[in-house]
């Protein structure tokens, strides 16, 4: 395996609102390797969506990246000019969002929107672009592509719209696809179809996929490697099997134990007491300490860095620090 295709180094993102500065991301570092299906999981406010937006340079005002580097195949995306990042968007990195119906313009047909995107990135004539669009629609499992091209967004169901968005995202063969909660708004049976599609496309076209979600089930079943985010920091990162069979961070453990399962009884649901800190940027201790049943003095003095616990498995927790660091 060559080096990572996406590398995020010590990313910090803050929102400068009228009520004060909110640090949404407090030092996130992770690597995504080529051809991999990487999952970014966490609850509301953990910063997973902002991380995805930061990669594309789409952090909305009043937010701003205040520190860190985002390297796509060695190039720092944060140092690019607006023109250059515009070319990267859609071309090398594509993103799909949670609500497909709001991502499409209701006044134009599916076909015209697809064609416009294709021509924007690849030029070419309308005829060609239309043919390409039909191929894309078929590739994402939509039958009767030609009829679909003439339809309007409101005529399609949520699942079909999401497929159209995926088609649009794939139109220029990006090397990285970021999917931000792509199935949260969809029914369970449709969700399964879309996830199957994403995995299928990943293996067929060798696209590196970054999947952002709060659903542990989706992560477990689709992703190769996972990063668990808490309050704007990476709590734990590793392969899916490692994380689920050997969760090291107390937060990860808490999350897994808090999810009820349809296929078997889980005994008592262990809830994580307390709530996520609202403005964690100014705290100098481990952000999870107030809710952690294992916290001891060290945890209140300084924030833990990432400690290795296995093959590619890292945890930000003093429980797994080496002896010297613990004292």
């Amino acid at each position: 395996m060559t080096g990572p295709s996406l590398r995020i180094e010590d990313l910090h993102v803050s929102f400068f609102t009228l009520s004060g500065k909110v640090r949404a991301i407090n030092g996130v570092s992770l690597e995504v390797y080529p051809g991999e299906f990487f999952g970014l999981v966490g609850e509301t406010g953990c910063g997973k969506t902002v991380t995805g937006l930061a990669v594309l340079g789409l952090v909305p005002k009043p937010g701003r990246v205040t520190q860190g580097r985002i390297l796509l195949k060695g190039r720092d995306l944060l140092r690019l000019s607006p023109r250059e990042i515009q070319r990267v968007r859609g071309d090398e990195i594509a993103m799909i969002f949670q609500n497909p119906s709001t991502s499409l313009n209701p006044v134009f047909t599916i076909g015209s929107q697809l064609v416009r995107v294709i021509r924007q990135h690849q030029g070419g004539r309308k005829r060609q672009a239309e043919k390409h669009a039909c191929e894309l629609l078929e590739a994402v499992g939509l039958p009767e592509a030609e009829r679909l091209m003439r339809s309007y967004p409101h005529e399609l169901s949520g699942g079909m719209l999401q497929r159209v968005m995926i088609a649009m995202a794939l139109s220029s063969r990006p090397s990285l696809l970021i999917a931000d909660e792509p199935t949260t708004a969809l029914d369970v049976t449709i969700q399964a179809q879309i996830l199957a599609l994403l995995r299928d496309l990943q293996s067929r076209f060798d696209i590196t996929t970054l999947l952002i979600t709060h659903d542990l089930g989706i992560i477990a079943e689709t992703c190769d490697r996972i990063a668990v985010l808490y309050a704007g920091q990476v709590a734990e990162v590793g392969t899916t099997t490692e994380i689920f069979h050997n969760p090291c961070h107390p937060y990860t453990q808490g999350l897994i134990r808090a999810v009820p399962r349809p296929d078997r009884d889980v005994g008592r649901l262990a809830a994580i007491p307390g709530t996520v800190p609202s403005n964690p940027g100014f705290l100098s201790y481990c952000l999870f300490a107030p809710r952690c049943s294992y916290a001891w003095d060290r945890c209140w003095e300084v924030q833990p860095t990432q400690f290795p616990v296995g093959e590619g498995h890292r945890v930000a927790c003093f429980l797994h620090a080496s002896q010297e660091v613990r004292s």
Binding site: D187, V188, G217, I219, V259, D265
Partner: protein, 324 residues
């Protein structure tokens, strides 16, 4: 469990007209709930599951008459609710309450927590303001909040806290039945677990009966005694939770279970995924409504609609193809 059910629903239907077409010329009948029969025993938790458009939310509303059923009967503790006039219905409402999906918007943004929780008391009792405040405090403590929350407003609280307030309000008049409409769907995983545990405790403490509506099979399994699966306005399978989820009879239940992602890494057989989308409730397929997507469909399935019939002492299925 025998004895008189607390809630009984017979042939309940809710149809409404929907305008469609250019300039809203055509009107279609949407059969949101189309002939549902079920019963809930006192102290039981019945989980009602299905995907969007199946009618479970509408059914929950019909039970409380927040939405008027088009046909059928809703019998609460032996009384047909649909025959009651407004005033009598108001009195019965004390015994049945609902908790909604979006905790933040289920509390009036201009009401303090105290006012919100005490509103049922204000409506139905003659308690004075200090008495109401005291009762509100007791209720808040029962749901895990405290005195400092009495004067807060909904936008100052988290989703989990708002849902607790909604629960406190629902319990103010000591109802016997609680309809819970996706009470944890809008909450984070860790908060969801807190609320579910709270629901279990409250059920014991207040001797409640729950109609638990959800699309999350994991949560339903955890909290429900029995489960009813709904598709396009009709029930397709009913039975004890574990039995139904461990060995589902109806192909739709099987498909649902196969589609739900499980938080355990496994190599999944993607080919079992259910194809197609849910048909519109305004235009359900003829015969069995599921036949267009059913992997086991037979010719009879598109001609005749199956009815819910018992296949074992406490399990019912609506399917022509008897499959295990």
């Amino acid at each position: 469990m025998s004895g008189r059910p607390l809630l009984e629903v017979r042939e309940l239907r809710h149809h409404f007209l929907q305008e469609s077409g250019w300039l809203a010329r055509r009107k279609r009948v949407v059969r949101a709930v189309d002939g549902v029969n079920l019963s809930i025993q006192p102290g039981e938790v019945l989980g009602l599951v299905g995907e969007s458009g199946c009618g479970k939310t509408t059914l929950g509303r019909c039970v409380l008459r927040l939405v008027e059923p088009t046909a059928g009967e809703v019998i609460f503790d032996g009384q047909d609710l649909l025959a009651l006039d407004t005033e009598a219905m108001r009195r019965v409402r004390r015994e049945m309450q609902i908790v909604f999906q979006d905790p933040l918007s289920s509390i009036d943004p201009r009401f303090s927590v105290e006012e919100a929780v005490a509103e049922p008391l204000r409506t139905h009792t003659n308690l004075s303001r200090p008495e109401r405040r005291e009762q509100a405090l007791t209720l808040l403590e029962d749901v895990g909040l405290g005195e400092q929350h009495l004067d807060r407003y909904s936008h100052e609280l988290s989703g989990g806290q708002c849902q607790r307030v909604a629960l406190a309000r629902a319990l103010a008049l000591r109802p016997r039945l609680l309809v819970l409409d996706e009470p944890t769907s809008a909450l984070d995983v860790s908060v969801q677990a807190q609320i579910i545990n709270l629901l279990v405790e409250l059920k014991k403490a207040y001797q409640l009966t729950y109609l638990f509506i959800s699309h999350d099979l994991g949560v339903v399994r955890y909290i429900s005694d029995r489960i009813a699966v709904m598709y396009l306005g009709k029930l397709v399978e009913v039975g004890p939770t574990e039995a139904v989820l461990d060995s589902p009879f109806h192909p739709y239940t099987q498909a649902l279970l196969a589609s739900v992602p499980i938080p355990e890494p496994r190599s999944r057989e993607w080919h079992f995924v259910l194809a197609g989308a849910v048909p519109s409730p305004a235009n359900p397929p003829p015969g069995c409504r599921f036949h267009t997507r059913c992997p086991s469909a037979q010719p009879i399935c598109q001609e005749q609609e199956p009815t819910l019939h018992p296949v074992s002492p406490n399990r019912q299925v609506a399917c022509h193809v008897e499959e295990k």
